[in-house]
Amino acid sequence: MAVGLPENVFMTTLDAAANWARSNSLWPMPFATACCGIELMATAASRHDMARFGAEVMRFSPRQCDLLVVAGRVVMKMLPVLQRIWLQMPEPKWCISMGACACTGGVFDTYAVVQGVDRFLPVDVYVPGCPPRPEQLLAAVIDLQDKIKAGGTLMGREFAAETTPRGPSPFDEEELKRLRGLPILQSQGTSSSSIYIPGQPGTNPGFSVAGRREGIHG
């Protein structure tokens, strides 16, 4: 052990010191396109107060931010803008995908809506919910702080090593089948005759109206 150190000096690694500083002063870039943006604002406002976790400095220039919060659905016309914003942010940077739409497209399974920004961007923390409560976003910020503290390096070696995309493949298998004119739903005919019994596997008819009613009352 080191000897002769004064009382107000402690030893650590450069990585740990950088992680400690970075995780406690995240500067969010709010990419708020829908109702999640309102919850994001509420999280930053006085009642929930994201400043308690050092992430209160919302900047509207990506050059000054290190945390991209994608709050809301992203349409195909907006995705190149989002990607450019991500590329404009200086290293080290992280991304929170907030809400069902940003994570998966949510209920908007249409030609115009990107089915999850993680198909085209590296996402660190996903927040479920439609929209998520501010507490959930705070939990995501705390999770991200833990992630930075656990794996961060001073020079960002962990980022440089990550050369494969994190998210799912941009194309769905179903979508590829449809584009090639192949049948997508093969077991459609059997669903109408079976009855959905909750708790019993193999009887759920999926998305038929009857199945939903049974599911609600069962």
Binding site: A161, R166, E175
Partner: protein, 163 residues
């Protein structure tokens, strides 16, 4: 109130006027559309074009035509409203632009072009208004799949190392 007999005397007997729950609908053949709309504005006082939209009747029960284009007119002085409707069939998806009559038709005709691919002859700037310029389909046509033809997935994937 617009009188059908008067309109038919002026523009021909093909015009029909029907009423449903207080809404009066005038059906006009496409080649007489501009003439009729011009007359409705200048002679009958319909000085405002409230809305301009279109309908795709593909697989619609008892439909005789593929597309319907709908003009919702309002006379600001009398408060009278009139729906003017015309039908189109492929491959002739062309209509005269009503931009010279109502300036507000500019963006509404662009939207109808964007979503249905109906061309408006004489429009000052007929390009897509909502979808990106590279888009090639017309998504409100009923033969276009709801989830698209892969446009929403056609982007480069950014990995963590290259960003």
């Amino acid at each position: 109130m617009v009188d059908l007999v008067e309109l038919q005397q002026k523009y021909g007997a093909e015009l029909t006027l029907s009423e449903f729950r207080g809404d009066r609908r005038l059906v006009v053949p496409a080649d007489k559309l501009y003439e009729v709309l011009s007359g409705l504005k200048l002679d009958f006082g319909f000085d405002q074009l409230t809305d301009l939209t279109a309908v795709d009747y593909l697989e619609y029960q008892d439909a005789e035509h593929r597309y319907g284009v709908v003009y919702l007119l309002l006379s600001v002085t009398t408060g009278e409203r009139l729906i003017v409707k015309t039908f189109l069939n492929p491959p002739h998806l062309e209509l005269p632009s009503v931009y010279p009559l109502w300036k507000g038709a500019n963006w509404m005709e662009r939207e109808v072009y964007d979503m249905f691919g109906i061309l408006f002859q004489g429009h000052p700037d007929l390009r897509r208004i909502l979808l990106p310029d590279e888009f090639v389909s017309f998504p409100l046509r009923k033969d276009y799949p709801l989830q698209g033809r892969g446009e929403r997935h056609n982007f480069p994937v950014i990995t963590r190392a290259e960003s």
